[in-house]
Amino acid sequence: MKVKVKKMFPPGHVRTPSYLRGKIGEVERDLGYFKNPEELAYGLNAHKQKLYRVRFEMNEIWGETCENPSDTVDAEIYEHWLEKV
């Protein structure tokens, strides 16, 4: 499943790295549900959100001048940060 990380910049405790925002990747695995750290960090009654491991290719993240296009970065991204491509 191809997904795109939403390009948004909300304030607060966010665990989606900036360098992956707006980038397209492939879901590597579904990790199940975890409490949303954006709420948990402030002692709120955190909702459970689905968490995915998403694999990004280097040229998608860093462009044509990347070190080696066949290398990848995997990161855990919460569902509310993802949209289907």
Binding site: P17, Y19, E67, N68, V73, A75, I77
Partner: protein, 211 residues
């Protein structure tokens, strides 16, 4: 004063280092305040806190090495490790709490390396405290952009046909790399293999020692 050295040199000809004492920071004061309240309210004790610190300090990469060596010698354990690394670690008696661990297998065509670009997430229960460089921005920002250059600085020059997979611990998972078993170790016991597994090989910035 007799113990003030000012700009004097030590007998071996080196300048004396400054004491590390400095006024408490805001966060240090906060930690002390919270700790004292918890003790006062009998929620915990000084001994309990000290014991937990000792427990954390006593975790070393030799824990992780036991997991790796077992996976090298027992194919069904390796399968369980790759399916659920948390349960496989518990099987060997490591208390890893609620930690969700994923083992990443290095092969002839894939080399894995771990990082936490956001902070310093690290498989502490199996490897102990992270090395200083793991927490520094230099490693965290460069390993996701130019992993091959960084790995070369660690002494790992990887061929182009080997894919590098960087794993950014951004949320609830922690990672450990399962390195390839060194050549020429077919007759090694599990205990002998454990000694070849280095901390860096389980982070992915190194390889196990050769036989």
């Amino acid at each position: 004063m007799p113990h003030d050295h000012n700009n004097e040199m030590s007998p071996s000809g080196h300048p004396y280092r400054k004491d590390q004492d400095h006024p408490l920071t805001y966060w240090q004061n906060l930690e002390i305040a919270v700790r004292e309240i918890l003790v006062e309210k009998k929620i915990t004790t000084e001994i309990e806190i000290q014991e937990t610190i000792n427990e954390m300090d006593n975790r070393t990469p030799s824990n992780g090495a036991k997991v790796i060596a077992k996976a090298w010698t027992d194919p069904s354990y390796k399968q369980r490790l790759l399916t659920n690394a948390s349960d496989a670690s518990r099987e060997l008696g490591f208390d890893i709490g609620p930690l969700k661990l994923i083992a990443l297998e290095n092969t002839k065509s894939i080399h894995n390396v771990i990082v936490c670009t956001l902070c310093s997430c690290y498989p502490r229960n199996l490897l102990g405290l992270p090395p200083d460089w793991y927490k520094q921005r230099s490693y965290r920002s460069r390993i996701v952009k130019t992993p091959r250059t960084v790995l070369k600085e660690f002494g790992l020059d990887l061929p182009k046909d080997l894919s590098v997979r960087v794993h950014d611990s951004t949320a609830d998972m922690r990672y450990i790399v399962l390195p390839m078993r060194p050549h020429g170790t077919e007759n090694f016991s599990t205990q002998a293999l454990e000694k070849l597994v280095t901390r860096d090989s389980m982070i992915g910035v190194g390889l196990p020692k050769s036989a």
